[in-house]
C-alpha cells in the first residue's frame, strides 16, 4: 500500500515545485530587469544629476546628456496619436455594440483584430516609404502611425466596458422615448466613462513604448521641442534604438537611463489604467 502511495506523491511534489519555480522566475526576471537597468543608469545620473531631466542638449563629445527633448517627443507623439485614435476607437466600439446588425458584429471585430495583427515594423515601413514623402518625418507622421497601432487596443477594451452597461438601464432609456444617441449619452456614458478612460490610458502606455515605428518616422532630430507637428523630432525609445550600437560607457548609461524613465512612466500608466478598467468591469458584474 505504501509503495503505491509513494510514486504519485513524489510526482505531486515535483509538479508543485515546478510550478512554484516558474512563478518565481517571473519575479526574478522583473527584479533582475529593474536592478540591471537601474545600475546601468547610475553613472549618468551621477554625472548629470537632475540636469538630466531638464537639459535640452545631447552631446557625446561634450559629455552632456539631457532627456527633455526625447520626453517631449514621446509625449507629443502620444498625444497626437490619442487625438486621432480615441474618437475613432470610441466610434467604432459604439458602432459595433449599438448600431451594427448582429450579422455585422463578427466581421467588424475581425476587422479590428486585423489591424492588431499587423506588426509595428510593417506600419513603420509603410509610414516611412508611403506617408513621410507627404507629411515628412515628423511628430505628425509618427502620431498617425501610432494611432493606427493603438486603435485596436482601445476599441476592444472599450467594447468590453460598454458591454457591461446593464441592459435594464439601456432599455429604460428607450422606454422613455430616447433616441439611440440620447441613450448612449444618458445610460452608457455615465456608466462606462471610468472604464473608457482606463482603456484610453492603456492605449497611451502602448503609444509611449513603441520603438520601431517611431524610430523610422520621427526624423531623429536633436533637441527639438516644438508644437509644430510637421517638424522632425525624437522620442525616448527611438533614440535608444538608433544610438545604442555605437555608444561607449557614459552614452550607454544615458540611454539606459532613458529606458529606465520610459519603463517607469509606461508601467505607471499601465497600472493606473488596468486598475480603472478592472474596477469598472467588476463593479457591474458584481464578481
Amino acid at each position: 500500500m505504501t509503495i503505491l502511495d509513494e510514486r504519485p506523491r513524489r510526482a505531486n511534489e515535483a509538479f508543485r515545485w515546478l510550478s512554484v519555480g516558474s512563478a518565481t522566475i517571473v519575479l526574478l526576471l522583473l527584479g533582475l530587469i529593474a536592478v540591471v537597468m537601474t545600475a546601468g543608469a547610475v553613472p549618468v545620473f551621477r554625472h548629470m544629476g537632475l540636469q538630466f531631466f531638464v537639459s535640452r542638449r545631447w552631446s557625446v563629445a561634450g559629455d552632456v546628456y539631457g532627456a527633455l527633448p526625447f520626453m517631449w517627443g514621446t509625449l507629443y507623439t502620444s498625444i497626437i496619436a490619442l487625438a486621432i485614435s480615441v474618437p475613432v476607437s470610441l466610434g467604432v466600439a459604439l458602432f459595433i455594440t449599438q448600431v451594427a446588425a448582429p450579422w455585422m458584429k463578427r466581421p467588424l471585430v475581425y476587422l479590428v483584430d486585423l489591424l492588431a495583427v499587423v506588426p509595428s515594423v510593417v506600419f513603420g515601413l509603410w509610414g516611412i516609404l508611403m506617408v513621410a514623402p507627404y507629411l515628412g518625418r515628423s511628430f505628425l507622421t509618427t502620431g498617425l502611425i501610432l494611432a493606427m497601432m493603438i486603435t485596436p487596443i482601445i476599441t476592444s477594451l472599450s467594447r468590453e466596458v460598454i458591454e457591461t452597461t446593464p441592459s435594464s438601464e439601456m432599455e429604460a432609456a428607450y422606454a422613455l422615448g430616447a433616441t439611440r444617441w440620447e441613450m448612449i449619452c444618458g445610460s452608457i456614458w455615465p456608466h462606462s466613462k471610468g472604464g473608457l478612460v482606463g482603456a484610453v490610458m492603456l492605449g497611451l502606455g502602448r503609444a509611449m513604448g513603441e520603438t520601431i515605428a517611431a524610430a523610422l518616422t520621427i526624423g531623429s532630430a536633436i533637441g527639438q521641442i516644438t508644437l509644430d507637428p510637421l517638424k522632425p523630432g525624437n522620442s525616448m525609445p527611438a533614440v535608444i534604438a538608433n544610438q545604442w550600437g555605437e555608444a561607449y560607457d557614459l552614452q550607454k548609461s544615458a540611454l539606459v537611463a532613458l529606458a529606465v524613465v520610459l519603463f517607469g512612466i509606461t508601467v505607471l500608466v499601465n497600472l493606473i489604467a488596468t486598475a480603472i478598467v478592472q474596477r469598472s468591469i467588476t463593479r457591474t458584474r458584481g464578481k
Binding site: V20, S59, G136, G245, E246, Y248
Partner: protein, 359 residues
C-alpha cells in the same frame, strides 16, 4: 515559506551567474582546426563578423561576394552601422574586424580591450553634397555656403550666399531641408573636419563623429539613409558618399576647392586629392581639403581595423587572407563602384603591415 526559500536560492544562483566574466573565445572553427593556418581554403568553416563605416559598405559587399566564391568555407558578415559603431564593437571585441573612416580618438583608445590596433587603408572617395531641387541640375557651392546651409543660417534655396555661388542660375524659393547622419559617422567626422579646415570663420559646430546639429535637421542611418531622405524630400540637401549617391541617382553639387576652382566629385578628382597626402607610420592619414587644382576638396578615406594580436589562429588566418584580397584583387572592384584606388605605395605598405598580425 517554501516559495521564499526557492526565491532566494534562485537569486543566489543568478548572482553567481552574473559575476561570471565575459565570453571566452567560442567559434566552431577554433574547436575543429587549431593548427590550421595553411588550410585556409580546405579547413573547417570560419565566420568573420565585421561592422562599421557605411562609406565602405558597397566595397565590402562586392568584395565579400567575390571572396566567398573562391573561399566557400569562409563566411563574412559586414553589418555597416557607421564608423562609430565599428570602432566601439571592435574595442569591445564583439566583431572580428571593423570599418572606419577616422582613427580612434585618444579618449576612446583607452577602452580598446584587445591591445594594438592596425589600420589597413582601402580606398579614397568623395563626399558629395547631394540635393533634390527640380530644374537646377548644376549647383555650385563654396565652403562658406555649405557651412551656412548645414548650420541652418540659410533656410531657403534662393538665399543670397547660394545665389552668389551660382550666377545666372534661377533658384526657387523652396525651403531647405537638411539631411544628416543619425549614427556616429566617419562621413560626418570627415565632412565636419573639412568645414573646420575650409570655412573656419563660418562653421561653428566643430567636428566629430556626432555633432550638435541644429534642431530641425532630419537624420537617417548610414549614407544610404541620408540618401533616402534627399531622394524623397523636395528641397533636401545632404552629404552622401559618391558611390551611394550615384547608385541612387542623386544630383550633386560642384564644390570650390582651395585653389578656387569648382570641382565635380568623381573618382578622378578624388585620386588627385590623394596624390599629396601625408601618411603616418601607422598608415593613418587624411585626404580632406587636399591641395591641387583638380582635386575634389571633400575627399576622404577608409580603413579596415583589426587587432594585431589574434587569439584564434584560424580566424587570424582568415582575416589575413581577406585583407590581402582587399588590397590586391579587390582593388579591381573599385572603379565599378565609383571609388578611387589607394595612391601608389600605400597598398604596398598596407600589404607589408599584414605581417604584423600575429596569431
Amino acid at each position: 515559506m517554501n516559495e521564499s526559500l526557492l526565491f532566494f536560492g534562485a537569486l543566489a544562483a543568478l548572482a553567481i551567474f552574473l559575476s561570471c566574466d565575459k565570453k571566452q573565445d567560442s567559434t566552431s572553427g577554433a574547436v575543429q582546426n587549431k593548427a590550421a593556418e595553411s588550410t585556409l581554403l580546405t579547413g573547417g568553416k570560419v565566420t568573420l563578423n565585421g561592422s562599421g563605416s557605411s562609406f565602405q559598405t558597397p566595397f565590402q559587399q562586392a568584395a565579400i561576394e567575390a571572396f566567398q566564391q573562391s573561399h566557400p568555407n569562409i563566411t563574412l558578415n559586414y553589418a555597416g552601422g557607421g564608423s562609430g559603431r565599428g570602432r566601439q564593437q571592435l574595442a569591445d571585441e564583439v566583431v572580428d574586424f571593423a570599418g572606419t573612416d577616422a582613427a580612434y580618438h585618444a579618449e576612446d583608445l583607452a577602452k580598446v580591450k584587445g591591445g594594438t590596433i592596425l589600420y589597413f587603408p582601402l580606398l579614397l572617395g568623395p563626399i558629395t553634397i547631394s540635393y533634390n531641387l527640380q530644374g537646377v541640375p548644376g549647383l555650385r557651392l563654396s565652403p562658406d555656403t555649405i557651412a551656412k546651409i548645414f548650420q541652418r543660417e540659410i533656410k531657403k534655396w534662393n538665399g543670397p550666399a547660394i545665389v552668389a555661388d551660382n550666377p545666372g542660375v534661377k533658384l526657387p524659393a523652396t525651403d531647405i531641408v537638411v539631411a544628416r547622419r543619425a549614427d556616429g559617422s566617419g562621413t560626418t567626422e570627415n565632412f565636419s573636419n573639412y568645414l573646420v579646415a575650409a570655412a573656419p570663420g563660418t562653421w561653428k559646430l566643430k567636428s566629430g563623429a556626432t555633432i550638435e546639429w541644429p534642431h530641425d535637421t532630419m537624420a537617417g542611418p548610414g549614407n544610404g539613409g541620408v540618401a533616402q531622405i534627399v531622394k524623397s524630400t523636395s528641397g533636401a540637401v545632404g552629404y552622401v558618399d559618391l558611390s551611394d549617391a550615384k547608385a541612387a541617382g542623386l544630383t550633386f553639387a560642384a564644390v570650390k576647392n582651395s585653389t578656387g576652382a569648382y570641382v565635380q566629385p568623381t573618382a578622378e578628382s578624388a585620386s588627385v586629392a590623394g596624390d599629396g597626402i601625408e601618411v603616418q607610420p601607422n598608415l593613418v592619414f587624411s585626404a580632406i581639403n587636399a591641395s591641387g587644382a583638380a582635386s575634389y576638396p571633400i575627399t576622404y578615406q577608409t580603413w579596415v581595423i583589426v587587432y594585431a594580436k589574434q587569439t584564434d589562429p584560424t580566424k587570424g588566418a582568415a582575416i589575413k587572407g581577406y585583407l590581402k584580397y582587399l588590397l590586391t584583387d579587390g582593388q579591381k572592384l573599385l572603379p565599378g563602384l565609383d571609388y578611387a584606388p589607394l595612391p601608389q605605395g600605400l597598398d604596398g605598405k598596407a600589404l607589408a603591415q599584414l605581417d604584423e598580425i600575429q596569431r
